[in-house]
């Protein structure tokens, strides 16, 4: 499957997941957005040399996956690119920081190894958290939450329009590149002589489409900005969800769960 097709499928999948009637899906989008950002911020603030504490942070994605009925396998597959990137940046650490912190049996564990492992965990948790957000919250709801956070209307309107036309244009781009590759079967990409015309055609069509979209808006009373609906009330559930997770995340950040469990056992 081509890259573009994969992208289209992914968007369809996310959309189908977000429009389910789930426990997490019903929570007010503002609560979910704030919890996600809060969670990521606190997770990222862990010092690199403290891998013990960061494990506790798995609680949020684990609970959300369970409550939202989300496949862990599919979510973990989503982590691959980010882990590769973090790995590429963090790979130097074990080489530079070779101070041995402790020994696991015969194996010396160095500061660099720890910091790299912490980094990978951070990367995984952050991606999981935002993936869980989009799996349980539709783009329109996220835009509604952004509006509540006073993000300017023009930007929210624009984001909604981009989201609306992403699929249309992805399919158009797919058709164009297929038409190209069918007549140039041995080429991996687009030859440089066709760069301008191919992408330029797509751009011109997009601009023309924008004109039609504008006319369509105009004919239906558009005056510069969208009137967005979905005045979803912040119900008690959502408020509890928000307050609960904000608290738990802070707790997990500053109280080492594993140490605590260990001392209780003693």
């Amino acid at each position: 499957m081509s890259r573009i097709n994969e992208a289209v499928h992914e968007i369809h999948h996310l959309d189908a997941m977000a429009s389910r009637e789930g426990r997490i899906n019903r929570i007010h989008p503002l609560s979910k957005l704030l919890v996600t950002v809060w969670y990521i911020t606190f997770t990222m603030s862990f010092p690199v040399y403290e891998p013990g504490g960061i494990f506790g942070m798995i609680l949020y994605p684990a609970v959300t996956m369970r409550a939202g009925g989300i496949s862990a396998v599919r979510s973990i597959r989503k982590l691959k690119p980010v882990l590769l990137l973090v790995c590429a940046v963090g790979i130097a650490n074990p080489f530079f920081d070779r101070a041995v912190l402790f020994r696991a049996g015969p194996l010396p564990v160095t500061g660099g190894m720890i910091s790299m492992a912490t980094l990978m965990l951070k990367g995984a948790f952050a991606v999981l958290a935002s993936y869980l957000l989009i799996l349980t919250t539709s783009m329109e709801s996220i835009c509604y939450a952004l509006r509540l956070l006073h993000v300017p209307k023009i930007m929210v309107t624009m984001v909604l329009l981009i989201y609306r036309y992403v699929i249309v244009l992805l399919k158009e781009a797919e058709r164009i590149s297929q038409a190209y590759s069918m007549r140039a079967p041995d080429q991996k990409g687009i030859h440089y002589r066709a760069w301008g015309t191919l992408l330029g055609q797509l751009m011109l069509r997009s601009i023309d489409r924008a004109q039609t979209v504008y006319e369509s808006m105009l004919l239906r009373g558009f005056d510069g900005s969208f009137r967005l609906s979905k005045k979803q009330k912040m119900d008690r559930r959502s408020a509890v969800y928000l307050a609960g997770w904000l608290g738990i995340v802070v707790l997990l950040r500053y109280v080492s769960v594993f140490k605590l469990a260990g001392s209780l056992l003693e």
Binding site: H12, M139, E140, L160, I167, S216, L219, R220, S229
Partner: protein, 249 residues
Amino acid sequence: MNKIEVNGLTFSYEKRASSSRKNVLSGLNFTAEDGESIGLIGANGAGKSTLLKLMVGLLTDYEGELRIGGIRAEKASLADIRKKTGYVFQDSDSQLFMSTVYEDVAFAPRNYGLSEEETRERTLRALESVHMEQMKDRHIYRLSGGEKKRASIASILSMEPEVILMDEPSAALDPKNRRSLIHVLNGLSGTKIIASHDLDFIYDTCERTILIADGRLAADGPTEEILRDQTLLEDNGLELPLSFSRTLE
């Protein structure tokens, strides 16, 4: 009362009068009564789309007279004209710019300042008349071509327009979707003008047909009469519809 009055309508995309100026429409005359369904036919470049765009105020600066519901179409009256007329674009993807069916159909009433309650009522009514009430929460990009077309129609029905203009509504629809569209259109009240190359479609939806060629009125009369007139059609760059050519044989 006449819903649409077109009198000596002349239009050109070039603004200045010069000898080389080409009129897209020249001296067009016709009227449409309330509730009439009119097919608008003509070869490519005959001026069909231009006429539709003039009627909805996407193009202005014409010469002659153009009245919709008694109001002269001009810059000052654009808002009134647009409230009375709904325009269904050929490309549904451009027409439907909101993310879900409901949001798109609710766009116009909301923008015209109706309350959320009224908006909801109108939206559901519009969706019902195109048989899409089950799909109201669907994302636009998940709709089929036929569903998109019906959603486009619903998106203008929610404005409760007096005049409905359509540009090639049956283009790229499979036979089944085409049939259901004919069914939907025949169930709509209000004045309709349908521009199309699909003459069989016109035959199934309009009792009257206007033929334009090179911006001029070539014929205006009962659909059956015009569509059976092989010489008239061929002189103006069209062909006899399939259903008629078969009966002639």
